[in-house]
Symmetry: C2
Subunit: 323 residues, 2 copies
């Protein structure tokens, strides 16, 4: 097999929240401690490692804090909340991973970079917000926020929930900094929560500013992996493989798969929109974006426990290649 050089690993919620989805500081730290052991195994193989991660429950908690303290301290915009989760999750990954690396006698250390992702102010997501964030509230309470200009939707028996734009990531603005750190030997945590969404009203970098939105973390991971020249994108989740005919008697795991095959499954509606769908989409985008002069790109969707097996070449997970 091809020698791996640079791997981007996208950590899912299970790598940083409790088994019940709990996002207390303790639960986050405990989950990250487990993830760090698996990540250190990957670093030990000698590949360059870049980590990115989700932040749904963490952003949800910050939105509640904004709301409940608004009569005393000014709420901060959603893009600042994304940045805040990059810091707390990045910090905790750095502490836990550095401890694992030091314990293994490895020289690498971890750096967490606050990361901005460029989006288009004209993205259809802004006129039609679809991504639910934060807690469920009864209709009457939701209407108070609707009056303030927020979008809320009736989500059924659990109540109403705020929906925000989830624009397409166009470019990870801080890739040059991430690249400098990776090249210098650091494991880098970046683009958490898909990155802090920013628009550039100057269209030349002269008028960057944050915009209230959240970006799909797997789609940003695919973009990041391409921009960093990674050969492998690993999407670490809570299942070892993507499933076909999931939940039916014909259910079966996908192993090695080509882009054409996976695209066929996606077109047949095999993958749930808010769940496996974006991961499959991200994997396809990364592999499709490779050109023949590159080392052949590979995207792997598997469980956190298997990420080091991916790198050592063991037969694990759903492994997507162009051909």
């Amino acid at each position: 097999m091809t020698l791996l050089r640079r791997v981007v690993i996208a950590l899912g919620g299970n790598a940083m929240t409790g088994p019940d989805g709990s996002a207390t500081p303790r639960a986050q730290r405990d989950a990250i401690a487990v993830a760090a052991r698996h990540i250190a195994e990957v670093v030990a193989t000698g590949v360059q490692v870049v980590l990115t991660h989700g932040n749904g429950p963490q952003v949800g908690n910050l939105l509640v804090k904004n709301e409940l303290a608004a009569h005393v301290v000014p709420p901060v915009p959603l893009d600042w909340n994304v940045a805040q989760t990059q810091a707390t999750i990045g910090l905790t990954i750095a502490d836990e991973l550095d401890a694992c690396l030091a314990a293994r006698g490895l020289p690498q250390r971890t750096a967490a970079v606050v990361t901005r992702t460029l989006v288009d102010a004209g993205d259809p997501g802004f006129s039609t917000p679809t991504k639910p964030v934060g807690r469920f509230l009864p209709r009457e309470e939701a209407q108070r926020f609707i009056a303030l200009g927020q979008n809320w939707e009736d989500r059924g028996p659990r109540g109403w929930r705020r929906v925000v734009a989830s624009p397409e990531p166009l470019s990870v603005i801080d890739v040059p900094a991430v690249n400098a750190l990776v090249t210098a030997g650091f494991v880098v945590v970046c683009a958490g929560g898909g990155g802090v969404p920013v628009v550039d009203e100057g269209h030349d970098g002269t008028a960057l500013h944050g915009i209230e939105a959240v970006i799909d973390k797997d789609l940003t991971a695919a973009l990041l992996a391409g921009e960093l020249g990674a050969d492998t994108l690993v999407i670490a989740t809570d299942v070892p493989n993507v499933m076909i005919d999931f939940g039916t008697p014909a259910q079966r795991p996908l192993g090695a798969v080509t882009a054409a095959e996976l695209r066929g499954h996606a077109a047949a509606g095999q993958f749930a929109r808010g769940s496996m769908g974006p991961k499959v989409d991200a994997a396809l985008r990364f592999v499709d974006g490779g050109n023949s002069a590159d080392t052949q790109r590979r995207a792997v969707i598997t469980s956190l426990e298997h990420i080091s097996d991916v790198v050592t070449g063991d037969d694990v997970g759903t492994v997507l290649t162009a051909l």
Copy 2:
């Protein structure tokens, strides 16, 4: 004069809050936009620039949010709050400074690094907390938090206030990452709020974890500047010079001063403990820490408006050298 190569600039509260101390997102962004223009002038001279900053009002706001939402979402520890302010301030500096750099046609861009600062779990600050944080509350409300294990003090007519440990910074853990970025040509924002305080229970990097404390940002700036091999530390504040006999008819600004002279003034009680004192202390620590083989170290305390004059060698501010 000596050619400057690497400058650490410590930005005070006036660089990131409104003229009335307001820390709304808008006020923070407006203040940072002004600071960014001055910083871009420094970058334009060709020196390497590392930025650090305070975060008092921002941490105060987060503590209130923790408190008022505690019945719905889990509070996060104070060290996480410090990390959160590094992200929001770092992000905003990066947006505003990148816009100024792009507008000037300069190639440098900004990177914000989540930064940990090592402290000693045995620091006397932990047994005798002295640093006030967050909002004032009436005694009855303060006692609710005292019952939870927090330290609160009667601060007079405005009420009670939480006090936390402010331990000595021993080492900025993420200096190697900052150094890699600066060397690669980035302007780096780091160690905001003095850095996220961490202790190492393993004493060899194998058991890092955050601890509830805040570190003096100027003392960390001095440490950071030394560890990064900077030749100049600039402490940007809201006055052009350190004053002697401040508030008396004999009041006069300090210009060029040696370490021995400044130490004499400090010993004579010229500098207020929570205000100019730590800045003078930081300047002395940086200059004292230089050895003769280095480019001679220089520490400058002046107003934000003058930071580029410091670099171009104009006669501004209080300029401390060893001899």
